[in-house]
Structures are given as C-alpha cells and as structure tokens.
Amino acid sequence: MPIVKRFTVMTDFWSHFPPKNTRTHEACGPSAPAFAAALAGHLCGANGKTVFWLRESWQGAQLNPVGFASYLDPKQLLIAQTARQIDALAAAEEALRSGHIALVVIELSQRIGLSEGRRLQLAAQEGDAMGLCLLPEDMGSNAAQTRWRCTPVFDVSGAAADSTLQNWKIIKNKSGTLTSWNVKWHAQTRRINVVSKPAQR
C-alpha cells in the first residue's frame, strides 16, 4: 500500500513546520499574528537571534509584548513602524539581506506584486533568513513559498483557561501538498503541540 504510506509522511506536521528557511512565506486569517509569534518562538527561542517586525504606523492594533513574552522574550524583538507599505518592504529587504535577523515579519495591508514578492525571496535567500508576510484574506502574492491560513478554534473540552487551539492550514505550497493541522502553543515549554483532530461523529 505505497499510497497510504506516502500520505502519512506528507501530513507530518514537522516536515512542513517551520517552513523553508531562505524563503518568504505568507500567513492570513485571524490567528496570523499568533502564527508569526509561534514561528518566532520556534526559530529564535533557543538561539537568541533577533526577530524584526515591520508594520505600518497607522494600524490600530499593536503587538502586546506581555502577551508575546509567552512565545519569545521581547528582548529579541525589534519593531519598525513605517509610513507607507513601500518603506516596509524596503526595510524588510534590508533586514532579510543583513544576515543578522532570523525572521522578518511584515504586516501588509495591500496586495504586493510579483516583483516585490520575488525581491523578498531573493533577499531572504541572500541573507539566510526567513520572511513572513501577514496579509488580509485573499491578497497573497504568487511569489510566496507557502501560504498558511490560521484560524482560532474553540476548545470544546474547555479544560485549560489559556487554551490556544487553532487551525493552521496550508492553502498554497510551491513544493508539497495542502494540509491542515490543529495546534496549540504550550507557553511553559515554549513549543507547538499538534492536537489530533476529534473524531467525526
């Protein structure tokens, strides 16, 4: 039964996460910031590298470092605010290329073209870093390596008051299949736990 075996290998979460380094990825959906924070915690939690988070200054919601601290020590976080998206992209390119940043998170509000997306890919490749664009729904660029849709999921068991159950679904993948997982962030150990899906009734 070779097909079944291949299927089980491909749905393995840890072969898809963290997504490929030296590439730029995209995340959308209400839990996209949580995805970025979990990725930052996964990539930089142990090695002490820096995460660069770029956002446009007019955006109302801001990252709360006290909440972020359960993913990654805010010491390792740098925030840049730009007036326009084009500045954010330029700064992201610079940061990706520098080689001193492990992850660059860019909050985008407008669709980016193929050339901008490609430039981010090249910069990530040159600086051996990972880029992650946080986008509104349906605004992805074709240049992205993978795109994840992240939605929070109501934890029916209700056991833990600080449950972070969410659904991460790959909706675009240049080299692989599209799958989805339910995951939780475990704040004490600072790692991602994959939750098995409840049986269908």
Partner: protein
C-alpha cells in the same frame, strides 16, 4: 612682545549669578545671600551689596544673619554652576582677545597685548569691559598691568584713583597665604614698597622662597604663564580636490580617507559619532549634503563607510564635486570597551542594520519593548527607540495577556457578566467560556483619559466561533468593551 594682562575679578560671582536669573525680581535693594553648609552650620557664602550694607559679612552664621535682617532672601550655593558660569564668562572674554584664562574660582585673565588698539586703546577697552559687566548685572573689577601678579593686585586691592603703581598696595596683594601675610604685617612690612626695599637674600631666608617668587612675578622679573582655555574639539575634516569628481566610487574613496582621519580624532577623545554629515561641494558652488544617523555611537571607519553608500548613491554630482567635508554633528562618549567574543559582533550587526533602515524610515521609528512596572495593560510596557535603549529587564505576566491590544471597542452588553451573544466588528459571536473577572483599578496618581470610566473587570472570552477576546466591563459607568485578542 611685552605682555599686557587684564585681570577681572568678580567678588560676588555666586550671588550675582543667582540674581541675574531673577531671584529678587530685579529689585537689588533687598538683601540677598548665598549660603553653604560648613563647620556644621549654614554660613553665608556670598552676599549682595544690600546685605553687606545691613552689616552682614561672609562666613557669618546664616541664623545670625537672619536675626539681623529678618527679610533676608537666600539660596544654597552651587559651586559647579558657578564654575560653569565662569567658563561662560571666559568664552565671552574672547571677544577682546584670544588668550583668555581662568583665575581661581572668581577671576579671568586676558592677555590683551596686540588687541587693545582694536577697541581704541587700553582705557577704552577697560571701560567697555566695565560697561558690559555692569549691564549684565555683574560686579566686576578690572585692571591692566604688565604682569599677571600686578594686575591681580590692582583688581583685588587697588583703587582706581591711585593709578597703576602697586608699590603702595598691602603685601597681601602679592597673593601670599594668610600666615605669611600675618608674619610680614607683624614685622611692620605693610606695603609692597617696604618689601622691595629689603635685600632679596634677607627676604628669602626669613620668609621662604615663596615671597620672593610672588614679588618677582608681580614686578615682572620672573615670567608667569596664563593657560588659555582649550577650544572645544572640532570633529570635522575636509578634502579639497584639484579636479572635480563625479563617480560615486570616487566620492566613497574620498569619504573613506576622511572617515579614517575623523575616526582617529574621535578615538583620541574617546568619543563616538552619532550623526555624521558628508558635505559635497560642487563646482557650481551648490552643495549636496548626505546625513547619516547611527544607531549606536561608532568610530570604526570600516563599519561606517558602507552605511554612507545609499546616501552617496542619491547625490547629484552635477558638473563634479571639488570639496568633500565630513563632520560629526553629534558625538557621544564611547569609552574603550573590552572586546568580547561572539556577542559583540551580533549586536554590532544589528546596530548597523538599525542605522541603515533608520536612515530610510527615521531612526525613531524602530522600537523595542521595555518592561514597565504597572498593572494597566497599556502601560505594562514601554516603547523605546531601539537606537537609544538597551534590551533589558524581565517580563512577567501573572495572568494570560492578549497578543494584540487595540483601542477599546464598545459592544452591547449589560450586567456584570459577559453577554452571551454580542456583535463585534460585524461578527455575531457567542460566548463559549468566560474566564474572569480580573479587576484592574486605574492609577489615581496619573491622569489618563482612557481610564476616566473607573475600574475595569477584565474577562477572557472564548467564543464558539473561535476568536478569543479580552473584554472588560466598567462597573462605575456600566459598559462593555473589547480591548485585545488572544492567540
């Protein structure tokens, strides 16, 4: 060239400094003293003329002085501010001559040889000095003589009517210590003329070499230096080119040579540049300026040079550039530091990155979070400019805090428990679990308009639709708001 030394003495420098700032609202007929704490009591350090007219004097106990003079105004002494003020006066003195030194804590020395004619002669110059000092509200005594010692004697002991001869002045005018002065007085040597009448060998044997030295310095037999103030270091270098250049590679090569010279200068002074300006003068006299703001004080030419690349690339060279000037506009002290392995290079790389990005989007727009000691969610952290702060402090959250915070958005709801159904951002949400309340009281010692509504009871609400929101209820002004979203 013969020296001509002007000595300026400000007998009431501390009190004049305070009064200039308007301590008595310009009414100098009221007695005023500056006090200091010495010998276990507050004493008068300096006093104005009105206070002296009331019979007060220096080193008098302050409580005694207040008994004499009940409406006495006072102010504690600040010798550091006085010294700074004297430095300012020395800088002002440079309008008369370039050679200005500081004499003790309350005097200036100017070597005006060769510059007096610019003011219409020595007398006119001294009158000008006196006029300007009195207009500035400073009591100053000014005298000129051939030597520093004689000029000092004239300002401290001379009368203007008696002319410039120091022979009739008391021996104390020779800058002797109090003990020697008393000994000389006791022997009947009251005036300098009495002392010069004696054989030198006798003076040296009886009173030590100091008296002879001071006498020689006053008469000019022995030279005495005035050490002028140092000029503030100038962190600027420039290069003028025989032929105009236009390629950005050439400009960078020029900048490299200038940077090496500037960095050597900075290294001598233990300083680091914070803001640099590369001034490129073109053949047609127009100038192009490239500014570079650095994320950390730096004096490493090899690291600064690549940071100029972007700015130099944007320069319009026109017909060519024939002068390059590099100035460190803003410098900070950068003491020599131990070179450590590993850690330093990483932060240096990030500093360079902050510089490069900061020159595009503004250095103040790159932030880092610092923990703050407050229960108020918006104030439990500080946002600091990354270039001017260091990442430090421990983050602690006793209760789960949302990943994102936003300005409170009102929702419909009544009662102290979260509403079962509510609409938020055009979504109909149903509450699955609610955890709370966590009561947070406003900080009464700070006025914060957002907290006018009083206490807040925070609830973490897991909706059946999935979103996990941070709601709060204000019991003093009933209402429900959404302030944050959890992961």
């Amino acid at each position: 060239m013969r020296k001509r030394v002007v000595s300026m003495w400000f007998p009431n420098l501390p009190s004049d400094r305070v009064l200039r700032a308007g301590a008595l609202n310009g009414d100098d007929t009221r007695p005023f003293v500056v006090t200091h704490h010495a010998k276990n009591t507050d004493r008068i350090y300096c006093l104005n003329n009105a206070a002296a007219a009331q019979g007060l004097h220096r080193d008098m106990g302050f409580s005694d002085a207040r008994a004499y003079c009940p409406d006495l105004q006072s102010c504690p002494a600040d010798p550091i501010a006085d010294a700074r003020f004297l430095q300012m006066l020395a800088r002002w003195g440079k309008r008369y001559c370039p050679w200005v030194g500081i004499d003790g804590v309350d005097g200036l020395l100017l070597n005006i040889a060769g510059s007096a004619h610019l003011f219409g002669g020595e007398d006119a110059m001294l009158d000008d000095m006196r006029g300007r000092l009195s207009r500035a509200g400073l009591q100053g005594r000014v005298a000129v003589a051939d030597t520093r010692g004689a000029a000092w004697a004239l300002t401290h002991f001379g009368q203007r009517a008696q002319g410039a001869d120091i022979a009739h002045l008391p021996v104390a005018a020779l800058r002797l210590d109090a003990k020697t002065d008393a000994t000389l007085q006791r022997l009947g040597l009251r005036k300098i003329a009495d002392l010069t009448a004696l054989p030198r060998a006798t003076i040296a044997r009886r009173f030590g070499p100091d008296v002879v030295l001071r006498l020689d310095q006053a008469t000019g037999a022995r030279d005495e230096d005035i050490s002028p103030l140092k000029d503030a270091p100038n962190y600027g270098v420039r290069m003028t080119l025989p032929d105009p250049i236009g390629l950005s590679g050439d400009v960078m090569a020029g900048a490299e040579r200038l940077l090496e010279r500037l960095c050597a200068k900075l290294k001598d002074q233990d300083m680091g540049a914070r803001k640099l300006q590369l001034h490129l003068r073109r053949v047609d006299q127009a100038a192009q300026v490239v500014e570079l703001r650095l994320a950390a004080p730096m004096r490493d030419a090899a690291r600064i040079l690549p940071l100029f690349e972007r700015g130099v690339g944007e320069v319009d060279a026109g017909y060519g550039i024939d002068q390059i000037r590099l100035t460190a506009i803003q410098v900070e002290s950068l003491p020599k530091a131990q070179i450590t392995h590993g850690v330093a290079t990483r932060t240096q790389g990030i500093d360079d990155l902050i510089t490069r990005i900061g020159n595009r989007i503004g250095l103040d727009n790159i932030h880092r979070f610092l923990p703050a000691d407050s229960h108020i969610p918006e104030r439990s952290f500080q946002i600091a400019a990354a270039a001017y702060s260091r990442a430090e402090g421990a983050w602690a959250a006793l209760r789960p805090r949302p990943l994102q915070l936003f300005a409170p958005e009102p929702i419909a709801g009544a009662g102290a428990r979260p509403p079962q159904h509510f609409r938020w951002r055009r979504m109909a949400l149903t509450v699955g679990h609610a955890t709370g309340p966590e009561r947070i009281a406003p900080e009464w010692w700070l006025t914060d308009d957002n907290w006018r509504s009083g206490l807040r009871d925070y609830w973490k609400v897991d909706t059946v639709q999935g979103r996990r929101l941070w709601l709060y209820y204000t019991p003093q002004n009933p209402g429900w708001f959404v302030q944050g979203e959890f992961a």
